[in-house]
Symmetry: C2
Subunit: 202 residues, 2 copies
Amino acid sequence: MIRKKQRGQLIVLSGPSGVGKSTVISELLGERPDIYFSVSFTTRKPRVGEADGINYNFVSQETFEAMIERGEFLEHARYVDHYYGTSLRLIEEKLAAGIDVLLDIEVQGAAKVREKCPNAVLIFIIPPSFEELSRRLHGRNTDDEEVIEGRLKKAREEYKEIPHYDFLVVNDKVSAAAAEIAAILTAEGCRTKYRLNLVEGV
Amino acid sequence: MIRKKQRGQLIVLSGPSGVGKSTVISELLGERPDIYFSVSFTTRKPRVGEADGINYNFVSQETFEAMIERGEFLEHARYVDHYYGTSLRLIEEKLAAGIDVLLDIEVQGAAKVREKCPNAVLIFIIPPSFEELSRRLHGRNTDDEEVIEGRLKKAREEYKEIPHYDFLVVNDKVSAAAAEIAAILTAEGCRTKYRLNLVEGV
C-alpha cells in the first residue's frame, strides 16, 4: 500500500446547466467507486427523477439560512433564485481519510473553494457548442422557453470564468469526458508534492 | 477533430539507471503509438540487445562534439563518462505538427529542457526501493560490481532533483507505471490553456 495518499484530492466540477454533468459524474463514479461525491444542499425543488440525498439534499430556505448562520458551508451561493451549498464537515472527514472528494458546483462556489483550498483541482465541462447545449436543454423537457433562454444566457456568463479553471473537458461523448476526468484525477495523484513520502533519503 | 491540439506536448522522463524506463516506455508507446519517442544521441557503447537508431543514436565522441559546436542539441550532458544529447530540429518539427514528444533524459538534461521549454511536463520514475534497484541492476548481468555501485551512488544523487519534477511514478508494476504516465499525458492535454480555442465567445 505504498501508493496510499496521505490526504484525499478535492475536485471541483463546474459546467453550464444542460451540459450533462450528472451523466458524466455517474459514468465516472461507476468506474471509480473510490471517489466520494459530495451531495450539495439546495433550496430548489427536485426535478423529475431527482431524489433527496442522491442528486441534492433538498432543504427549505429557512433551514439553508440557519446552516449559513452556523458556518456549516465550505461555500454557498445563490444561482437562478435558489441557494446551493457544500457541507464543510463531511468533505473534511473524507479528505482527511485519504478519500478523493468530487464537488459539482457553479462558478461562484468554485472560486470560493479555490480560495480556501489552493490544492483543489478545478475542471470545467462544456458542450461541443452552444447550439448543442440549447438542443440538450430543450430535449430535457423540464423547462419552458423562458427558463431555457435564462440558462443559455447564464452559460455565456459562466464561460467567462473558464480561464480560472485548471482543466477543460468537452462533453461530446459521455464516456470520453468521464475518461478524461478519470485521467486528470489519476495524474493529479501522481504529483511529486503528494508522493515525496515514497522517496527514500529525501 | 475539435480536440486536435495546436501544438504537441513535450514530456521528459527521467529515472535512475536500472529502474526499467525502457520497458515502461515500450509499454506506453504500445498503447499510445501517436507519441513520438525522441531517440537520444550518445557516445556510449550499445549494450547487448540495443540497436542504433532505436535505443540511441550511437555516435563517436568527435561526431558528438561537432554537433555541440553546430548548436544541434536542445540539451546535452556528460553522464558516467559519456555524452548524451537530444536533437532540437526533429523535436521541434513534431511539436509544431501537434505531436506529443517523449524524451528519456537524465536530470541535468531535464533541468535544461525545463529552462528552455517551460510548458514541458517532467516525470521522474523511481523503483519501489533502492534494494529493488540494486536487485534489478544485478539481474541485468551487464555491469560488474563496481559499475553497479557507481550507478546506485548516482541514483542517490539524482533523487535530490526529484522535487523539481512535476510528477513522480513508482515502477512497481510496468503496466501500472505506463498507465499512470498515459493518464498524465491525457490530463496535460486537457489543460484549459491548451483548449481555449474550443470555447465559443471567449
